[in-house]
């Protein structure tokens, strides 16, 4: 369909209007065409991501469809992130015209438990990607009452990222082995870099964590957990978590004038991406922050995004909390599901098994989301080799593998997004001093538990 049909009417004459309604007729007919897929033609939905991300997946699906002699495939990108996406997906499922495959950025358990996605266990039995080829901790984010509702095909692995140049400028060794091993050490080192000009934060060392999605990792590092899967209990206000938030809050008070607003006015110190609400750039990539926690996908974006970045960054394990004993890491997977009502479930599953083993390698080369299936062996991504050399790239790939092996269970609650929202709310209240640590966490705990019980009862 050519764009010309949709020529912009200059004035609203009657004739033009009729033209417009003809075009509109075509638009109204269109969803029928894109949503109700013919058999043998795969339709894939993506929740968001960059143009590059969309192109990679369009290419992978087209390649697979033509080699498997399926009809022309369609990839729909940019359906909106987060709430809008899930809402659209559920809408299409209840309307009976869902995509054949959908990627999710939120764990499939809760929607799967409600009957929105197909259980994949039967198909997995006779395939290359049987249950035992997946890391159990990761796959549990898709499992509910013995059914597997999706596959965590790739995952970003969370580690500490730091700025070697900044460390060296203070005469601090910049190798991975010398990076702080505990929160206490990290907090001590952080002071070296934190510079205030009046109430303006010029540069900073490290920060108390403010990303709700990573809270499960920090909690595990302090010997706690957010959600006890075995007993179906939220543990948001456990002793370890209260201790953790108190540690962060004291840190904030001591080093950052106890005011997250002051920090946010100075740039994005939370993550290595520009901040959505203020439009401010990431302090880490501007060379104004010694280090932060980030997912491995940053390895690709750091060279693809139009954000200026220093060259000598490196990764290290995330330090351990006062009550913690062992180092752990975490992930944010890219889940894939086959919605109930898919016209081509078997072909969709075949694509997933191709994607899990061959496709994900190609994907990793361009955007380093780490393939999770145990049968995949990895080479370092090209952009990394080009920018930092083969040796560094290989070292980092090996390091990521060690981190992927110590991933703590997360994303495994049947009411994941609700629980996550509650944690986010508690953190905001704590950091803005709207509530005490204990009150905020116990509020979150009772709300999250109530929702979990509701979902379980349903």
């Amino acid at each position: 369909m050519s764009e010309k049909t949709y020529a912009v009417p200059g004035s609203i004459s009657r004739r033009r209007f009729l033209h417009g309604s003809a075009a509109a007729g075509a638009i109204m007919a269109l969803p029928g065409a894109t949503l109700a897929q013919a058999e043998g033609q795969l339709l894939l939905w993506l929740p968001g991501g960059s143009d590059l991300f969309c192109k990679i997946h369009t290419g992978l699906l087209e390649g697979f469809s033509s080699s498997a002699n399926l009809g022309p495939a369609t990839t729909v990108c940019g359906l909106g992130q987060d709430t809008e996406f899930t809402q659209a997906l559920i809408g299409s499922i209840t309307a009976g015209s869902p995509p054949d495959i959908s990627m999710l950025w939120d764990s499939p358990v809760s929607l799967g438990a409600q009957g929105a996605f197909m259980p994949l266990d039967e198909m997995m039995k006779n395939s290359k990607i049987g249950i035992d080829t997946w890391p159990a901790g990761l796959l549990s984010s898709c499992q509910f009452k013995g059914n597997t509702y999706g596959l965590p095909v790739t995952a970003g692995v969370y580690t500490m990222w730091y700025n070697e140049e900044l460390l060296e400028s203070k005469g601090i060794p910049s190798d991975r082995a010398s990076f702080p091993k505990t929160w206490v050490e990290m907090r001590k080192l952080s002071k070296e870099f934190t510079v205030w000009d009046g109430d303006t934060l010029v540069s900073a060392g490290f920060m108390p964590n403010r990303i709700p999605e990573t809270m499960a990792i920090w909690s595990a590092l302090n010997g706690g957990m957010l959600f006890d899967e075995a007993n179906l209990k939220y543990m948001l206000d456990s002793e370890q978590n209260i201790e953790m938030m108190n540690f962060f809050l004291e840190w904030l008070d001591e080093e950052y004038k106890g005011d997250v607003n002051l920090i946010d006015r100075a740039g994005n110190f939370k993550e290595a991406y520009p901040d959505a609400s203020s439009g401010l750039g990431p302090a880490f990539r501007e060379g104004r922050q010694a280090g932060l926690i980030s997912g491995s996908w940053l390895m690709g974006d750091i060279y693809a995004d139009p954000v200026p970045t220093f060259t000598r960054w490196n990764m290290a394990p995330i330090p351990v909390g006062p009550s913690g004993t062992t180092a752990v890491s975490g992930t944010w997977p890219n889940w894939f599901v086959i919605p109930v009502g898919s016209k081509n479930p078997q072909a969709a599953f075949d694509y997933l098994s191709y994607l899990a083993i061959e496709g994900s390698v190609e994907w990793y080369q361009q955007i380093p989301d780490v393939p999770t299936n145990s049968q995949v062996s990895l080479k370092a991504p090209n952009s990394l080799i080009e920018n930092r050399g083969a040796e560094f790239a290989d070292d980092l790939t090996a390091f990521l593998a060690t981190q992927a092996a110590i991933v703590t269970p997360m994303w495994n609650s049947p009411s994941q997004s609700f629980g996550n929202d509650q944690m986010a709310r508690a953190m905001e209240k704590i950091y803005t001093k709207a509530a005490s640590v204990k009150d905020a966490l116990s509020d979150a705990q009772s709300a999250a538990q109530a929702e979990l019980d509701r979902v379980m009862a349903g």
């Binding site: 809402q87 559920i90 409600q114 203020s278 709310r425």
Partner: protein, 315 residues
């Protein structure tokens, strides 16, 4: 309302009969003309209203069938802190934004109600914000009110003031949202101006002669004559404010950033229905909103009898 005119009764014998037949035709036509709307009212309003009350008493996740749970959803929203926070925010928003908006719109309308060379320009300027899509407007304000790099704070700082963080500070965010809601007051102004211009010249001029003091005229002549417009703006303003959604979602997302300061009732309702897929919860919230708005409008209309002046009544 249904006043009958007694004048025709003394006429000829045939007149009442013909009148009755004409009346029957008219009645039939009346029903026919209103029929599409009555059907629409039934399909899109009456039946769904009943169904909402039904869903509010069911456990329902969009997929699957609804399951009767009685008043469980109501006790759940009663216990949900997000509902309380958002109700409080929404009430604050409505109670502060609506009166200020009405006063401002009335002031603007009074200022506009004179003929000068620039009248057309001013009118246009005040109507324009209403034409701005709420999404576009909110995005522009996010940028405009950026605490560090936004022009508003730069100007205020240049004047030696220490401006707030507007949308980023939990203490200021709701007030900022209220402030932003005052920008598109074109419709209210338009309605008031229409009312002002409808005031008959003779009344206005008579008042001019009697009382030279401007505010006397305003209080005793102008405002009473536009009370119907005040009622209209008040009722629509309150109903609209209770349902504020777009601005809140664009600015605060589904969690009412920062720290739930901009979390509005409609956002929590939307989140319950389309993020957590808890239709029963959302429907229960909707019924509560219904009852609150109903009681509030009844209250306004009840009191309105004593302060709204309808020209027709004096005839």
């Amino acid at each position: 309302m249904g006043k009958s005119t007694p004048s025709g009764q003394a006429g000829a014998e045939t007149l009442p009969r013909r009148r009755r037949r004409a009346g029957r035709n008219e009645a039939r036509a009346g029903v026919l003309f209103a029929l599409p709307w009555m059907i629409g009212l039934a399909i899109f309003t009456a039946i769904p209203l009943v169904l909402t009350f039904y869903i509010a008493q069911a456990r329902f996740q969009i997929t699957g069938a609804p399951k009767w749970v009685g008043l469980q959803n109501y006790s759940a929203i009663w216990a949900d802190p997000a509902v309380w926070t958002s109700a409080q925010n929404t009430l604050m928003f409505a109670m502060i934004s609506v009166p200020i908006k009405l006063v401002l719109a009335l002031c603007l309308a009074l200022l506009l109600n004179r003929v000068t060379m620039l009248s057309g320009f001013y009118r246009t300027v005040f109507y324009l914000p209403f034409l701005m899509p709420a999404v576009a407007g909110s995005i522009v304000f996010i940028l405009l009110l950026n605490p560090v790099a936004g022009p508003v704070n730069m100007m205020l700082q240049a004047m030696g003031l220490s401006p707030p963080d507007w949308l980023l500070d939990p203490k200021a965010a709701l007030w900022t949202l209220i402030l932003l809601s005052l920008w598109p007051l074109g419709v209210e102004t338009l309605v008031f101006l229409g009312g002002l211009q409808n005031i008959p010249k003779d009344i206005s001029e008579a008042a001019d002669l009697d009382s030279p003091r401007g505010w006397h005229k305003l209080v005793w002549i102008t405002i009473p004559l536009i009370t119907p417009m005040i009622l209209f703006n008040l009722v629509t303003g309150i109903i609209y404010s209770f349902q504020v959604f777009t601005q809140a979602l664009v600015i605060g997302g589904t969690t009412g950033k920062p720290a739930e300061a901009t979390l509005m009732y409609m956002v929590v309702l939307y989140r319950a229905a389309f993020r957590y897929f808890n239709m029963g919860h959302a429907a229960a919230m909707a019924t509560v909103l219904f009852v609150v708005v109903l009681l509030l409008t009844l209250l306004i209309f009840r009191t309105a009898r004593s302060w709204v002046y309808y020209e027709g009544e004096s005839r």
